[in-house]
Amino acid sequence: MVNKEVGGLAEMVRGRVVKRHEPAPGHVELWIHSPVLAKAIPGQFVHVATGGMLRRPISFSRLDHSAGTAAILFQIVGDGTRWLASVQEGVELDLMGPLGRGFAMPDPRHPWCLVGGGVGIPPLLAAATAWTPFLNEPPTVVLGARESALLLLEEEFRALGAAVEVTTDDGSQGQRGTVVGPLAHWLAKHPTGQVYACGPTPMLGAVARASQGQSNVWLALEQRMGCGVGACLACVVLANGQNGPVYRRVCTDGPVFAAEELIFE
């Protein structure tokens, strides 16, 4: 199975920050007014100019068609995100997007589970918000974080009616350990379940292993990017090709891939 979802047509966009919030220490969420970006599909990303040589790819945490706003939620990890975190309401950002292939909507006949770790959680909120109204039941959501203080968006998922399970590395909230425990449990109970996961690459590898044999497992990947549009071939991940392993581009073949497409080392 290959991700065939295609997003809205990408453009160069100038978008004004209309709201700024710090959901956790070292994390910032910015709401951007941009009707073009607001039409993105959950799992797509925006490529943000932050002053460095390269733009920074960030997924959408919220997409609001009617308000014409899109939000991004990111962790401060280096110069680019530090600059972006310093941006205040009213500032106009230089953006490219929406880019990449987003998540395909779940089949309403089967249960669905969202699995997010750290700053992999935000795009899953966009997905949950977009799909819950159209599906028979709200999702099961498994959230992982290093510690309780860094857990993102739990309340937002609960507000959608989701069943939320939390894991933390240090046990400061929910179950101690990683998201893989609760996921494996859920998979055992829902053999036709559909999984949507986003988080650090080692976590995604673990999700892929835990769901081996299952066919509706979708992973949103990260990789260092150059162009963001498929031109430079920088952002590749190892995938199964017709004649053995091939490198595929996260920016245009992904960022969402079927778990079975990928090769984790």
Binding site: L9, A10, G226, A231, C232, V236
Partner: protein, 317 residues
């Protein structure tokens, strides 16, 4: 101002701004962001006779005003290129330069010959920075005799305008330039990326999957200008300059150093629109320097060509 550039074998560009190989894909990728038909030309990502897999990620890493890459020349091979990408490019109306690569002299020849069969290829750019697998992996562009051999072999099978792209990672770039001129190159493009490395201190290893990488972007501009300036004095064929160009003023530096046209690479990742902005700004920038044409600008800084300093130097500043 007329920005046309007339190059050998009838290659005429509507302006001197060319998208640099490897930074503009195989054609369609930037179509929704750039008016490709407005560019002087597009040099596509290196194309080999068969598909090449490329290097393990990470493949890019930022350095101070520079970019390291180790893409490893991943490409889907000349067959797929001809069927999938070339028709699109042909329709944009821009000139199409195909950057060709190979691991042996025969592989280079094979790509060039295959392209003879296609309409819409306006020129070849022979990228001699590829590892020569027969000679233990050192690049063709680092030894004059190997550079000569590749270029001569390609020249034998093609009548297309042919530029050869120089590596900066050599002791004497002018010697390589003279070798490829002697082998039949119509033009020289310079420079390819500068070999570099970064360490990912957290992971305690080289940052790039391919260990070393090629440095591009503003950081390398002085290196590129030095090579263009020296090569311009060493050969009689036109030079296409590149390396770190960000603005119309940067373009003027390359023109004065002896380039007839330029390629723009890394900056496109950040500002896809920058090439068009440069094309639009160039006439006014030239005029602000009391220059009225491209041709009078080319080589103005070369020895023996220095005019009197503009009168304004004597004014109070």
């Amino acid at each position: 101002m007329n920005l046309e550039v007339q190059l050998p074998r009838g290659l005429r560009l509507q302006n001197p701004i060319i998208a640099a190989s490897g930074t503009f894909g195989f054609g369609p990728e930037y179509a929704s962001f750039v008016d490709i038909g407005a560019l002087g030309a597009v040099s596509v990502k290196g194309v080999s006779p068969e598909p090449w897999p490329g290097n393990p990620p990470p493949r890019v890493w930022e350095t101070p005003l520079g970019l390291l890459n180790s893409i490893g020349l991943q490409n889907h091979g000349v067959e797929v290129f001809c069927h999938q990408d070339l028709p699109f490019l042909r329709d944009t109306g821009t000139k199409v330069i195909v950057n060709i690569i190979g691991h042996t002299v025969e592989e280079y020849q094979r790509v060039a010959e295959r392209l003879n069969a296609e309409k819409g290829v306006d020129a070849l750019e022979v990228n001699i920075s590829c590892p020569n697998i027969k000679e233990g992996g050192m690049s063709f562009g680092q030894e004059p005799d190997q550079a000569f051999a590749v270029v001569q072999a390609v020249r034998r099978v093609t009548d297309l305008p042919m530029m050869v792209k120089l590596s900066p990672n050599v002791t004497y770039p002018t010697v390589i330039a003279q070798a490829v001129e002697a082998a039949g190159a119509d033009m020289i493009s310079a420079i390819n990326t500068v070999m570099g490395l970064a360490i990912d201190v957290k992971r305690r290893r080289p940052a790039l999957g391919g260990i070393t990488g090629g440095l591009s972007g503003p950081a390398v501009k002085p290196v590129a200008l030095r090579i263009v300036y020296e090569v311009a004095q060493a050969v009689d064929i036109p030079i296409i300059g590149m390396g770190g160009i960000n603005s119309a003023l940067d373009v003027v530096e390359f023109l004065m150093a002896g380039a007839q046209a330029v390629m723009v690479g890394t900056v496109t990742f950040q500002y896809p629109n920058r090439m068009q902005e440069i094309i639009e700004a160039l006439p006014a920038v030239l005029r602000s320097l009391q220059l009225n044409s491209l041709s009078e600008t080319v080589g103005l800084a070369l020895p023996g060509r220095v005019p009197l300093p503009p009168a304004s130097e004597d004014a109070y500043e």
